[in-house]
Structure formats: structure tokens, C-alpha cells
């Protein structure tokens, strides 16, 4: 069979063109439909940059101010566009600066191809200038990686890289190319990769599992859906909607599943997990059938596994076999792309409504609104709350914006209160929790969805981790809106110190610079808001602005995020205060 495959390939081979490896890299990217890459030049990748100069009309390169910024921008681009993000850097420090972004893309299943230059192959292992074993370093955090030492290997390896990055459960791929491979010549011909022996991107769906799942769903009295990013990655938003509307099942989401179902949908019951909503957390431990769709039972979702949904039959719709039974035992595992499996199960499930069960969620909503949400969105205190900023943004964007959030308290506020009408609109670092993600990710998000409003919500801590990307915004004129919610604290850590470490605020208070002046230094329109009466107008002005805009909102210093499932607690022990 293998030999047969090879013969077919040989017969279809098109005419070749003689060129350098570096040019071949560019031609591969173009052949994959890439027109935008993020990167930072340096010694070992210079031959590729030289070719970029020639191809700048076809392949736009965005010079970020740090390689980490390039990876996050590529992630943001991938997540709003649905395409593979591409980042490029030199060897040594260039490559190691990629590490955080790659790890982030791996844990959040973001399709990304990272290309790094490497010292000449004769120098490998000699501790040469800017040599680092990036293959060894990136192995545990990539879906696949490979080092190219010969020019003629470039087309096939890059084709494989794009195929692996985007197929099945997506992820980051790193390709390291030695300088001699970039300078070396080859006969170029490009053929897209259609499959890799030993790799099954999408497992086969067992019809029996669909039947078993349908039976459980049809007999359920209190079913509940928790959906994750699998819906967005599988572009299964319509299929999910049809499925839950037919079955009438209340549906909650994980942080990365957010925006796959409109906020206003009657069956949308909110977020699960540590700072999720009261109802879905409580009722996880009361439902009789739990449908986990394209999600992976992260510990921030489940809390204590020993006390997680023990009463429920669990149906897991999943593309990655390694996720099934990893954290939560599945009574039925439906393998495959959720776009297909949800479509397949639709005719097998009976129409239903679960009015009284849905009402239980609504009852908890009322409690949560009175105890938490009301004060967050309409505070009585003098100080501004993060929640009211989000409320004002909702009012101005009507839920049509892409919200890019960083990591911490403001992230939880953004995910809890931002309203969404469209999918692929919530861009955040979920699994890795990378502070500094939002500013560069917002650049990529805007370039991946240029017709949409992109608003980055960032804390004063995370903002300063990648603040240099203001330079990229200034140079590219990408019109992103940046909102820094400044509480002069590393707020989430401070909250934990208050709750679990007797208010010993070790190294969480921040003495900050004048953020408005910094933005001005980059010629970005900017404003600081300290009073409630100025908030609405400022947000209006920011949204109306055609260019990039920086808005600092000074918020109450010691507000906490509730509800909260403390670490080690059960989801049903969720605290409201």
C-alpha cells in the first residue's frame, strides 16, 4: 500500500523550479495561502528575511517588538480567522522567546506554525553563537516539531507542518531550519500534505456510541450541556444550536467555548468553573446526564474530581482519544469532529423542553444577580468596578466586538460579563494563563478579522509584560482598542492572598508609570478615566475612533471576583462571597 501511495505521488509531480531554500520557505507559505506572518529577524534567519524583502507584495510581515509578541499575535490571528497563524524568528534567544506562545497554543489547541532559523548544520552541537536546542526545548509543548538541515526537505516538511497544525485537534508545530538549508538550492515543487502515515486526525465515530448517547439523552430528566472550544475549532456552532434547541437542554460553556453560542440565547446558562456562574456549577452536581461537547474537563472547570458530577451519566463528544477518561470517566464516548457527530445525533434525539429544569438555572441566576452581579455592574460605591466598564462596552458594541482578554481578575470579569452575538469573539489565554497575552493577541485578532471591532481588556500587571507591542500597533496602524483596568495590584493574586493567606499582600501592589503618557509616546490616542461620570463618554469616544485607542480606567483597588470555587473544593461548594 505504501509503495502504491508513492507511485501515485511520483506520477502527479509537477515541473520544478531551481531556487534557494530560503525562497522555498516563502513559496511554501504562499502555497498554503498565508499572506501575513509575524516575526523578528536575526542572524540565523536572515536568508529568509532577504527573500521576504522580494516577496513583500504577496507576503506581509509584521515586525513585533519581541518574539513572544509574534507568537501571541499569530495566535490571535488564528483564533479570529480560523486559519493557521505563522510566526518566524531567529535561533537562540529568538527561538526561546517563542516558548511561552507555543506552550499557550498547545494547551489551547491553536493552529500555529513557528519557523526558527538555526546555526549551520556543521555547527550543531558545538555551542555556537545563538545556538540552542529548540527542538529539545519545544518537544513537550508542540504537536509536532522538526529540524531541517537540507534545502530539498523544505517543501515536504512545511507541507506536513501545516497539515498537522490545522488537522484534527489543532496545535502548534515548530520547524527549525539550519542556515545552510536556507542557503542551499533545491528543485522546488509544492504539494499539499493530504495525510501522514501513523497519524489519525479525526477518529472514526462508532454508530453504537451515538445510539447509546441518544438513548441517555432521550431518557434524561435533567440533562446539561457543557461545551468547549471544540465547537469553535470544529465550526459546529450551527450544529450545537440545532441540537440544544431540539432537545431543550440548558447549555453552559467553558472559558474557551465562550461566544460559540450567543449570550442572549435562552438555553445559554453561563460559564462553568472556578469563577463561572452559580447555576451551572451548582447544577453540575444535580444533572442526570452531562454532555461534555468539545471540552476536556480542565481542573479549573471541575474542581475536586471526587465530588464532580458523580450522580450523572457522562457523554463525552471528543476528537482527541487521550482526553476521554483522562479526568472524568465517560459512560459514553462519542469520538469524532463535533460538527459531524452533533449532526449525526440530531435525527436520533427526541424534541423536548426542560422548562422546570431550566427554571432551576434561572433561580440560581436570580440569587447570583442579587448577591454578585448587581453590585458589579451597577456599583453603589464611589470607586469604579471592572464590571461596569464591561457593561458600558457591551452597550457601545452591542455584543458584536471581539474581546481579547489577558489573565487575571479583569479576564474573569470580561468572560463573565462581555456579551457576544458572534462566534470566534472571545480570545483569551485559557489553559496556560499567560499574562501579557492580550496586547499582541489583539493585534493578530484584528488582522484576522479586520472588519470587526477588537477590544483588548488588560490588567495593569499583564499590560506591562508585553507593553512594547504598542510599537507594533504604532508602526502597523492596526486599529485595536486597548482598555487597561488599573487597580494598581496583581488583583487575582491579591484576592487569593486576602482569602487564603490572611491578607499578606506579598509583592502584589504595583507602582505604575503614567500609562497615558506611554501611549502618547507611541502616538496612540489615549485617555484616563477616574470618575464614573466620564466612563460612558470615553468608551463611546474609543469605539467611535477609527484608529487605535488607549483607555486607562482606574478601578477600585481591592474588589474580588465572585462566585468562586476555591481550589480543592467541589463545584457545588461555589462561594458567592
Amino acid at each position: 500500500m505504501e509503495t502504491q501511495t508513492q507511485t501515485i505521488k511520483k506520477e502527479t509531480k509537477v515541473s520544478t523550479e531551481r531556487m534557494k531554500g530560503a525562497e522555498a520557505v516563502i513559496r511554501c507559505l504562499l502555497a498554503e495561502g498565508v499572506d501575513l506572518i509575524y516575526g523578528y529577524p536575526g542572524g540565523a534567519i536572515m536568508p529568509v528575511y532577504d527573500e521576504l524583502y522580494k516577496y513583500q507584495e504577496q507576503l506581509h510581515h509584521v515586525l513585533t517588538r519581541h518574539e513572544q509578541g509574534a507568537t501571541h499575535a499569530a495566535q490571535g490571528y488564528a483564533r479570529t480567522s480560523g486559519k493557521v497563524g505563522v510566526a518566524i524568528a531567529t535561533s537562540g534567544p529568538g527561538a526561546t522567546n517563542f516558548v511561552t506562545g507555543i506552550a499557550d497554543a498547545q494547551i489551547d489547541s491553536t493552529p500555529m506554525v513557528c519557523i526558527t532559523g538555526q546555526v549551520g548544520s556543521h555547527l550543531l552541537g558545538s555551542d555556537a553563537f545563538q545556538e540552542t536546542d529548540i527542538i529539545g526545548i519545544s518537544t513537550p509543548i508542540t504537536k509536532w516539531n522538526h529540524q531541517i538541515t537540507k534545502a530539498e526537505d523544505i517543501p515536504a516538511v512545511l507541507a506536513k507542518a501545516f497539515y498537522i497544525a490545522r488537522s484534527g485537534r489543532p496545535g502548534p508545530v515548530l520547524i527549525d531550519i539550519t542556515k545552510d538549508a536556507q542557503f542551499g538550492e533545491l528543485d522546488f515543487a509544492y504539494e499539499k500534505c493530504k495525510g501522514v502515515r501513523s497519524y489519525i486526525p479525526v477518529p472514526q465515530t462508532d454508530l453504537h456510541s451515538l445510539e447509546a448517547a441518544a438513548k441517555l439523552i432521550n431518557n434524561a430528566k435533567k440533562p446539561m450541556v457543557i461545551f468547549g472550544q471544540g465547537i469553535i475549532l470544529g465550526e459546529a456552532e450551527e450544529e450545537l444550536k440545532k441540537f440544544i434547541e431540539k432537545t431543550g437542554i440548558p447549555s453552559a460553556w467553558t472559558i474557551l467555548g465562550l461566544s460559540a453560542l450567543p449570550t442572549a440565547h435562552t438555553l445559554n446558562v453561563g460559564m462553568v468553573g472556578m469563577h463561572g456562574n452559580y447555576g451551572p456549577n451548582k447544577l453540575t452536581n444535580e444533572c442526570d446526564v452531562l454532555l461534555a461537547i468539545g471540552m476536556r474537563f480542565d481542573d479549573r472547570v471541575t474542581g475536586d474530581l471526587e465530588r464532580y458530577a458523580k450522580q450523572a451519566k457522562v457523554i463525552h463528544f471528543e476528537i482527541d482519544p487521550a482526553e476521554v477518561n483522562k479526568n472524568v470517566k465517560a459512560d459514553v464516548a462519542v469520538m469524532g469532529n463535533v460538527k459531524n457527530t452533533l449532526a449525526q445525533i440530531l435525527p436520533m434525539v427526541k424534541p423536548n423542553t426542560h422548562e422546570s429544569w431550566l427554571q432551576e438555572f434561572r433561580n440560581y441566576d436570580t440569587i447570583e444577580y442579587d448577591k454578585v452581579i448587581k453590585d458589579e455592574l451597577y456599583p453603589n460605591e464611589e470607586g469604579l468596578s471592572m464590571g461596569e466598564v464591561l457593561r458600558r462596552i457591551n452597550e457601545e458594541t452591542k455584543g458584536d466586538a471581539v474581546i481579547v482578554s489577558d489573565v487575571g481578575q479583569h479576564q474573569m470579569i470580561a468572560c463573565r460579563y462581555a456579551e457576544f452575538t458572534k462566534t470566534k469573539s472571545n480570545i483569551t489565554s485559557g489553559g496556560l494563563g499567560t499574562m501579557g497575552f492580550a496586547l499582541p493577541a489583539a493585534i493578530g485578532a484584528k488582522m484576522g478579522a479586520p472588519d470587526r471591532e477588537v477590544v483588548a481588556i488588560i490588567g495593569d500587571g499583564g499590560y506591562q509584560m508585553t507593553i512594547q507591542e504598542l510599537g507594533t500597533i504604532y508602526q502597523t496602524k492596526v486599529p485595536v482598542k486597548i482598555v487597561v483596568l488599573n487597580n494598581e495590584f496583581l488583583g487575582m493574586v491579591r484576592q487569593w492572598q486576602q482569602l487564603f493567606f490572611d491578607k499578606r499582600y506579598a509583592s502584589t501592589e504595583m507602582v505604575n508609570p503614567d500609562f497615558v503618557k506611554i501611549a502618547e509616546g507611541y502616538h496612540i490616542q489615549s485617555k484616563r478615566v477616574t470618575r464614573r461620570e466620564d466612563l460612558q463618554e470615553s468608551i463611546k469616544e474609543m469605539i467611535a475612533c477609527k484608529d487605535s485607542y488607549f483607555l486607562e480606567v482606574c478601578v477600585e483597588k481591592e474588589n474580588n471576583i465572585f462566585p468562586m470555587v476555591p481550589t480543592g473544593a467541589s463545584v457545588s461548594d461555589i462561594r458567592l462571597e
Binding site: 500500500m1 505504501e2 502504491q4 501511495t5 501515485i8 527542538i135 529539545g136 518537544t139 513537550p140 504537536k143 509536532w144 516539531n145 522538526h146 498537522i164 493530504k194 495525510g195 501522514v196 502515515r197 501513523s198 497519524y199 489519525i200 482527541d320 482519544p321 487521550a322 476521554v324 477518561n325 483522562k326
Partner: protein
């Protein structure tokens, strides 16, 4: 759940970085490898890793999932000792003069079913293949005389049931076309 000896068999493509990927899976979970061997398999261009670990069945199932997730892994299996035929090989380097100084050592060698690989005036080398306890028994008998060198290989194992690797590869090939 009880910890048991599991023999993990992994069929893979020949890839330079794969060893690193596989060992990282164990390292990350603090699982000690009792033994590790890599070799060619019965199929051309397909390699086979044999790893022995002492963990629970639940753990080994999850590990198999993580291993199979690696792009160049064709298939991974796990088996208990009862389900496999397995052997280890050991080499013993012993001073030749002991043969004359202490006649008892000759009896040890005779009854051990060990092969003499080489003999020089200074030393001789014994090779013993068998299960871990066979090798250890000989080690314990020879150790009092003084061993110049000792080395033992990792486990190699063949399973009693079929692996169907060729069939799996055929299916991959069909999908590829």
C-alpha cells in the same frame, strides 16, 4: 488500584525526536522506567520500543493515550507479564584466575546455563539470558567471587496475542491515498 508490571510496546516511524517525546511523557508524570529498549520490528521501516513500568492500569491506559497522540507513533499496546514472553540478557566479566583458585565457581557456571562468550588469560565473559530472577540468581552466586564488570539489558518482549500492525498500517495508507 494495584500497581503492576506493564510492558508497553510502541510501534513507530523512524524519527529522530520521537525518543525524546516518549520519554518526556513518563518524566512529566514522575513515572520511573524499569527498563527501556528500542529496536527494529518485524515490519520494514517500523521501529519498536519496549518499556516496562510499574504503575496502575488506570495510569497505563492514560499513558498509552498520550503516546498514541504523538504524530509518528503508529500504535501502542500494554500487557501484563502473563500476556507476554519476555527475556533479559546480562554479561558478567570475571577474572580468569578465579577458575583455578576456587573450583566451586566452575560448578556455578555449569549449573547456570550461561554461555561463555570469550576467554582470555585475564578474564572471561559469561552471557546469561532469561527472566530477571534467573539473571539475579546468577549475579548473587558470582558476586562473592568478585565481578570485574556486570551489565544487564532492558526487557525484550513478544506478546502472546496478535498486534495487527500491518493491518493498521494498511488502513493508514488507504486514508492517505
Amino acid at each position: 488500584m494495584k500497581k503492576e508490571n506493564y510492558t508497553i510496546s510502541i510501534y513507530t516511524e523512524n524519527n529522530i525526536g520521537l525518543l525524546n517525546r516518549i520519554s518526556a511523557i513518563f518524566l512529566r508524570r514522575h513515572i520511573n522506567l524499569e527498563s527501556f529498549t528500542a529496536s527494529v520490528s518485524e515490519i520494514k521501516d517500523v521501529f519498536r520500543f519496549i518499556i516496562v513500568v510499574q504503575i496502575t492500569e488506570e495510569q497505563v491506559k492514560k499513558i498509552i493515550g498520550q503516546i498514541e497522540k504523538q504524530i509518528e507513533v503508529i500504535k501502542a499496546f500494554y500487557h501484563t507479564d502473563d500476556e507476554t514472553i519476555y527475556q533479559e540478557t546480562a554479561l558478567f566479566k570475571v577474572a580468569s584466575k578465579l577458575l583455578f583458585e576456587d573450583r566451586q565457581i566452575q560448578n556455578v557456571i555449569k549449573s547456570s546455563n550461561a554461555n561463555i562468550v570469550t576467554v582470555t588469560p585475564e578474564f572471561f565473559v559469561l552471557e546469561k539470558t532469561g527472566r530477571r530472577n534467573d539473571v539475579e540468581a546468577l549475579y548473587n552466586e558470582l558476586e562473592p567471587y568478585g565481578l570485574m564488570q556486570f551489565v544487564r539489558s532492558g526487557r525484550i518482549a513478544i506478546t502472546k496475542d496478535k498486534m495487527h500492525i500491518s493491518k493498521i498500517l494498511e488502513n493508514f495508507a488507504v486514508e492517505t491515498v
